[in-house]
Amino acid sequence: MKTDDLIGLLAQDAEPVASHAIEQRFAVAALAGLGGGLVLMLVLFGVRPGVVQDMALPMFWGKLVFAGLLAAGGLAVLRRLARPGMGLGHSLALLALPPLVLWGLAAVALGQAGAGERLPLVLGSTWRSCAFNIAALSLPALVASLWALRGAAPTRLAWAGAGAGLLAGALGTLAYALHCPEMAAPFLAVWYLAGMALPTLAGAWLGPRVLRW
């Protein structure tokens, strides 16, 4: 087939295109991923019995805001990575802010604690399982956001995969926060971030393998 024939063929298929098709796809993926994570949380772990009392604690909401902001930041980065020729702009700053604030809170809490209380603040009672649980709950969102990216044209595949993994980690964390009993900033600053790092790394590895177009 000659190139001019191909061009004619492509022009035949000039159906109108919605300009926000990508955003819609990511919104669907994020909602489906969050829903999947919540279902998985109910099946695997269950909502924490004391969750209603927890709602009186600022840190309960702090965890949700933290994960929610990271999910929003992940979406902002992804919608840029999904389009060829689009720089990251300030979207990375949006991502860096929540962890920096959390680390700041953790440093203050550790500074105020006595020498013998510091390690318990970091380890809590669930440090062995927390990161892996978050990673498990992020799996539906990882699949969904990679699916959304496959409908787009990322040119930096490992970065795009990492972005999808980070979004998935944040959504998995949102779901896990309803089960998790930990409320100390030093714990969250280590183990929640470790839990999000796992799907982020998995996404970076998967990106070049599943996102080619």
Partner: protein, 180 residues
Amino acid sequence: MEIEQRLRPLLLQGLEGDSNAYQRFLKELSAHLRAFLRRRLAQRPDEVEDLVQETLLAVHNQRHTYRHDMPVTAWAHAIARYKLIDWLRSHAVKGALDVPLDDAQELFSSSDSDAAQARRDLGLLLQTLPERQRLPIVHMKLEGLSVVETARLTGLSESAVKVGVHRGLKALAARIRGTA
């Protein structure tokens, strides 16, 4: 930039369904792609037209990723660069990672409307598509029939004809990746 001002309205009209404007956009883009790829693939002149076609198909299949507030030149250049690097990698060409970090101007600095014969025949690849995708493409493009005529001839509904062309072009891009 002059090219930006010329290409942008054509693409925007194309995205709204204007087939003529879109065809002119693709035509001009193909000339720039050809000159760009010919420079980058100086050692493999036979492959240039294949990659021009593959990139055009990618531009078409990914046209929903164009955001109206970004330069068309930057968008098209990023696609061309991605396709070039992908091609170099899958052909295990040494130095695939050394493709210079040129900017969008590089793609549009020259143009070459002299299409050579493609080595890989998209027509043959077309034969491997399922009938409901292949027939609409063959009738509409290669025989110049309209959607209505193609629908009557194939017994498909009009929307099935459009969907067939659309999916067929995606499948074609996937076949190219498979044979790369």
